[in-house]
Symmetry: C2
Subunit: 417 residues, 2 copies
């Protein structure tokens, strides 16, 4: 039996056992996992040092090495997050609906664990602990497949977390990482229909695409965001500038950052120059359409190509297009957006309502920055990722995204006539 299949089999056994654990038992396991990360931090730091040295030797870019590197402080923060998770309410067992059927059967729909959750992710080793914690909290077994760059860190963290969880009464196999780093192992995991209940990829567009193309198991797509801010002709120009600059610059490398600016023809000549100047002062390169390029008083704008409308820069870059009005703005967003986060800036009531109703995205904003699309900002307590698909979960996913429902029917001998 292959490594992946062996792990999947153990995970299913663990999932069946986890379904019998109580809320208190799982919360105690989370605290034990948190304590173990701190108690065994030297082992984790030692493994991480190997990954960091290898990454540096390969000439990996400094920001990537920074994402990879663990410190005692970072491990402390990861451990704290596990402890916080133990304090959140347990979603498992919630009765979602219920009724007494006409025939006397007492029917309830109850929230239950997914079973076996798989995660494929890239170089940040903190995802290992996050994913393990979220799955233990929701009584799911988890199979982790981290990026090869963080392999020593991930395997050590998995060992520390799994042995602490098992020591606290969780079943063997509840937290497992795939040791093989070749692509075939990842593809095998994606193909285990019936053995994996849900696969959640976390990473860049390339990883997500690979999963979408290859997976036979149910997938929750996450995190690709080509987000727009649309400045309507009735916008308050100072608010528009504040929102555009925040949505682009506050953290440009994340999925809810703005990648494209749309503005109404009626106001672009007056509103746009100070906004573009503010963006440029912050270090943003602007890719403009013809009208933007012909603006007076703004220098150094690059010419946008058709490709720019569909590009998620994840960088200090923004595309800019002048539109004829609300209709064109909504069409453009629905055509080029990735259905993540979209904002309109306007003081006009009817235009705000139309944008909210007609834009097809996980989160639609009036007069606020797209940067708010986030589990913590939305008050979800914990975040698994941001779903950009419509099935199951959409937008920031809290613990309930790792659950499903089961109908429970209590009868007294009823048969169907």
């Amino acid at each position: 039996m292959s490594e992946v299949l062996t792990l999947a089999k153990k995970a299913r056994e663990a999932a069946n056992a986890l379904a019998k654990t109580s809320t208190d038992e799982r919360n105690r396991a989370l605290v034990a996992m948190s304590d173990a990360l701190v108690a065994r931090q030297n082992e984790i730091l030692g493994a991480n040092a190997l990954d960091v040295a290898a990454a540096r030797a390969k000439g990996t870019a400094a920001p990537l090495v920074d994402r990879l590197e663990l410190t005692a402080a970072r491990i402390g923060a990861i451990a704290e997050a596990l402890k916080s998770l133990s304090l959140l309410p347990d979603p498992i067992g919630e009765v979602l609906s219920g009724s007494r059927l006409a025939n006397g059967i007492w029917l309830q729909q109850v929230r239950v664990p997914m079973g076996v959750v798989a995660m494929i992710y890239e170089a940040r080793p903190n995802v290992t602990a996050d994913a393990a914690g979220l799955c233990i909290k929701t009584a799911n077994a988890v199979i982790l497949r981290g990026g090869s760059m963080a392999q020593h860190s991930n395997l050590m963290m998995t060992e520390v977390l799994a042995s602490a969880a098992v020591g606290a009464g969780m079943p063997e196999g509840c937290i497992q990482s795939i040791e093989s780093t070749d692509h075939a192992a990842a593809e095998e995991l994606m193909g285990l229909h019936g053995k994996i209940d849900v696969l959640i990829p976390r990473g860049g567009a390339k990883l997500i695409q690979s999963v979408v193309q290859n997976a036979k198991v149910p997938v929750i797509e996450t995190g690709v965001g080509n987000c727009h801010v649309y400045i309507h002709e009735k916008a308050d120009p100072a608010m528009a500038e504040r929102i555009v600059v925040n949505a682009k610059c506050q953290r440009p490398g994340v999925c809810n950052a703005a990648e494209s600016l749309l503005i109404d023809e009626a106001v672009y000549a007056t509103f746009l120059p100070p906004i573009l100047t503010a963006l440029q002062s912050a270090g943003v390169t602007i890719y403009g359409d013809e009208k933007t390029l012909s603006l007076e008083g703004v220098e150094g704008i690059e010419a946008a190509t058709e490709d720019d409308w569909g590009t998620e820069y994840l960088d200090m870059k923004i595309s800019c297009k002048v539109v004829t009005g609300l209709d064109e703005a909504i069409s453009h967003v629905n055509m080029y957006g990735t259905k993540h986060s979209e904002a309109i800036v306007t003081e006009d009531y009817a235009s705000a309502l139309r944008f909210l109703n007609e834009v097809d995205a996980a989160a639609v904003y009036v007069n606020a920055s797209t940067r708010f699309t986030d589990g913590a900002e939305f008050g979800l307590g914990a975040e698994i990722g941001i779903s950009t698909q419509k099935l199951h979960a959409r937008g920031p996913m809290g613990l309930t995204a790792l659950t499903t429902a089961k109908f429970i029917a209590m009868g007294s001998g009823q048969i169907r006539e």
Copy 2:
């Protein structure tokens, strides 16, 4: 552009337009569709006669021809179902949750249409009208791909339904059928990631498997049911017999019919003979394990093989296995079941609770027939199918399975610090 791609493009435009329609407009369209089916029934019956004649000429089995054949009465019933749909509450626009965030943003999670729904189904032409009606009700555009055996019927029904819907104000392209009957067209449809929001296959295990293996778009798996009735040692034997006979025989060709009987070792020698005799009197063939075969007083039992435990007969056949007790029963169900509908018969409180908690299935029953897993029986108003996956919808799916959610955020200039 291929036929399928052309249809998908039109469907997206239709979906955007449907998102703007009101509940009343869509309900009026459903009534118009219902009226048109009756008014144009001769055209539909004419097209159906071609399909029926071709099926007979090919020597198709009588039950299949019966499922294919339409009559004025059947069209009347289909038309009635569309009218009933118009009377159900509209799920679209429901506010699922909402709060005022600390920063003043007013956040709501609102139920919205999926967008473009695709259905691939087999020979029953009534599914064409069902699917079209469910999608118009929920403001989704639908692309239908029916079985080639019913192609004339499906295309004519689509024409009648679509022109009535458009005549009542729905957008062009809201209801479309794929004309090409080759497999490449179906595969192309399954691959349209980003263009199809959800694909729902309705049909046998082979169709479902083909979709699971080939689809790149999000899928809701439906309807394969290897369902068990487990007779616990503390069961009331008369109730056990009534439930087993009902679960197996009331309608053996459907997914919630029982396919396997488990019984405790402690009682099988006394409980099983009358139950098996009752099943045999009803015309059921029994595939038994060794203990079942060695029962005295019951003749004509076939020997079960390992394959029988995993087989969905959809026929007057049942497998029968003697288990050591609750633990083995739960393990067996979780190993061989398809997570559809599972029942225990017992008078013991603790055993009932354990079965409900530990069996992993869409619907779990105590002392009732598995045949109740059904949208109408569960009071869902309309049924799209029965999901056997855990993502998005599980068990009988009502209208809400064709919806997703959107976060709507109303701000007053908030930016993220």
